[in-house]
Amino acid sequence: MSLDISFIGILIGSIMASSVPLILAASGELITERSGVLNLGVEGMMIIGAISGFALMVITDNLFIAIVGSMFSGVIISLIFGFLTQSLLTNHVATGLALTIFGIGLSAMLGKNFVGIPGKEFPILFSSLRESIPFFGPILFGHSIVLYFAFALPFLTNYFLKKTKLGLVVRAVGDSPVSASNQGINVTLVRYCCILYGGAMCGLAGAYLSLIYTPQWIENMTAGRGWIALALVVFATWSPIKVLIGALIFGGITILQLHMQAIGFRIPVQFLSALPYLMTIIVLVVISRDSRKIKLNTPTSLGRIFYKEK
């Protein structure tokens, strides 16, 4: 294998592409968790986004409708979670699990007639610049608009949480719902909005997989990425910029693993495939060891039910 400079550029570009669904889903979940809600249904919302995006593309032949529709279906499915946890005050962990199981089943049911249909080429931006500039070309140019959005999202999220009044409200609701409520903030409404936003981002993450990354519908095609996104939020200690870094590391492992397989590296495929999962565990151990550090950043009311006597 020649390690020339242009190859490394292409490699970095493909690492970026594989980290997109993780960035989108984790950034969405981060906002949800910052408002004090733990939604373990990321995997289910992603797979619903993947099938509805792909189905809409096949039916309408319009990629814009497909992308927007996938986000909308993410919102709809997360509304179930929101209604249960916020209005009926159910346990977050159990409800999220139910959402994942339900989502995987429903997506397979809806996707029955879409298996084996080839996808459509998704337009890429600045494709001429990609070819003409060595090294930086494949890194910076020739990607889909979703990728550029995904890479801007952590910065936007950071700005939203730290610099806007609404961001402050979200953090206040997550850290101290009782005092936020006493200040006249409608805690339930804020949490509903954050849950639906998380659903939209997970839907988009799923659509990225079925429309852009591997443009086709395969049953269970999210393959655990939703769970890795959840782990990423903890990995990032609820900081949006660290989500970006973490997602790139995980995307890197995924791509490296594929390349090692391709050049006939002597380690069995399965061990390489297990790397992202083992890596998640190791990272969780390293960052969780210091319980003070975790506590400093964890939304204080994460996963707890808030109930206001009327």
Binding site: I80, T95, M109, L284
Partner: protein, 359 residues
């Protein structure tokens, strides 16, 4: 006028009644989904819930599928009761099957009464060890057990895949991803000629009895329940929190390992890639539907096993993917959690006249 009031204590009768409400709502919800998909809902539901168990073979299949679900859910009830979120039972099942299967493969050309007990024991120990990983990381490194136990599911499945494709694959198997067939001495005895139901069901029943005894008659059970209700109280009472976390995970892992070994020594008879249709995940629903109560779990495992069977029947007769089973399973949990609202809140329909009198 409707008024919603918080209840002071949960009425026990309602606590065990709401699962039935959830099941009825799930059946109605399923009917609506079938209708939307263009099927006659009554007929589709009949294929789903009645056809599969209308003969002896079907009933045996029901018990066959309920056995691992019941075993795993019994184990999980220890974790959930003490507020430990072990959601990686699927991984513990897989690792138990790997260890148990490894022992069975050692004896592939031998017969002997001691082989099956060894295989079963190995499976339980395998599951236990695998469950200890998230437990130790939680107790000593403060790591989130939900994520760790879940990540290990993928690791165990990849390990199984590696073994059946690579070192353990059947040398005479034409490169199929499977091991040798186990010898007859490694197989669970069948209970009836011609039916697949096997002695593993007694393991599940023993687990039910034992868990009832531990939870309701021993100090350990008391500790588990108190820690589940209030960690502060448990600390105040001087319970050893760390030891308890390790113990509940070990119990839970052993049960999942037993379930795995029951599958490979029962209906499967070898190791291959697909040893479990996500029993480890579905058992979480069984545990909740059974209200974390040993006898409730027996009932719940039969209900959820029926969704598996129904999905298979519906796939044959209605050509819908067998994943519909998961749609039903998800709905059961949704409706169960939703109906819990009735446990904690009283919905009162107020009589206006009385209201006026009060003023």
């Amino acid at each position: 006028m409707i008024k919603i009031e918080k209840r002071n204590d949960v009425p026990m009768a309602l606590y065990f009644f709401t699962p039935f409400i959830a099941i009825i709502l799930t059946i109605l919800g399923g009917g609506i989904i079938f209708y939307i998909l263009g099927f006659n809902p009554i007929e589709a539901l009949k294929f789903y819930f009645i056809t599969p168990i209308s003969n002896l073979y079907g009933l045996s299949e029901l018990l066959l599928k309920a056995t691992p679900l019941c075993l795993i859910a019994i184990g999980l009830s220890f974790c959930f009761k003490s507020n430990n979120w072990n959601i990686g039972a699927e991984g513990q099942l897989t690792f138990g099957a790997i260890v148990g299967g490894g022992v069975a493969l050692l004896f592939y050309n031998q017969e002997g009464f001691y082989i099956l007990p060894l295989v079963i024991l190995a499976g339980a120990i395998g599951g236990m060890i695998f469950a200890l990983i998230p437990a130790i990381l939680k107790t000593y490194f403060n790591t989130n057990e939900i994520l760790v136990s879940l990540m290990l599911v993928y690791v165990s499945k990849l390990l199984l895949d590696y073994l059946v494709v690579g070192p353990w694959s059947n040398p005479e198997g034409f490169n199929f991803p499977e091991t040798r067939q186990f010898s007859d001495s490694s197989r669970m005895p069948l209970l009836f000629e011609g039916l697949r139901i096997h002695a593993g069901i007694f393991l599940a029943l023993a687990a039910v009895m034992l868990s009832w005894f531990i939870l309701y008659k021993t100090y350990l059970g008391f500790q588990i329940k108190v820690s589940g209700l209030s960690l502060k109280t448990a600390k105040y009472a001087g319970f050893k929190g760390k030891t308890m976390i390790l113990v509940v995970f070990m119990i839970s892992g052993a049960c999942a390992g037993l379930a795995g070994v029951g599958e490979i020594t029962g209906p499967i008879g070898q190791l291959h890639r697909m040893i479990s249709p996500d029993y480890g995940f579905t058992a979480i629903i069984v545990a909740f539907l059974g209200r974390l109560n040993p006898f409730g779990i027996i009932f719940a495992s039969l209900v959820v096993a029926l969704t598996y069977l129904g999905a298979e029947t519906a796939q044959i007769f209605l050509q819908i993917p067998k994943y519909t089973g998961q749609v039903f399973q998800g709905m059961i949990l949704f409706f169960l959690l939703a109906s819990d609202y009735l446990l904690f809140f009283k919905v009162k329909i107020l009589n206006l006249k009385k209201n006026e009198l009060r003023h």
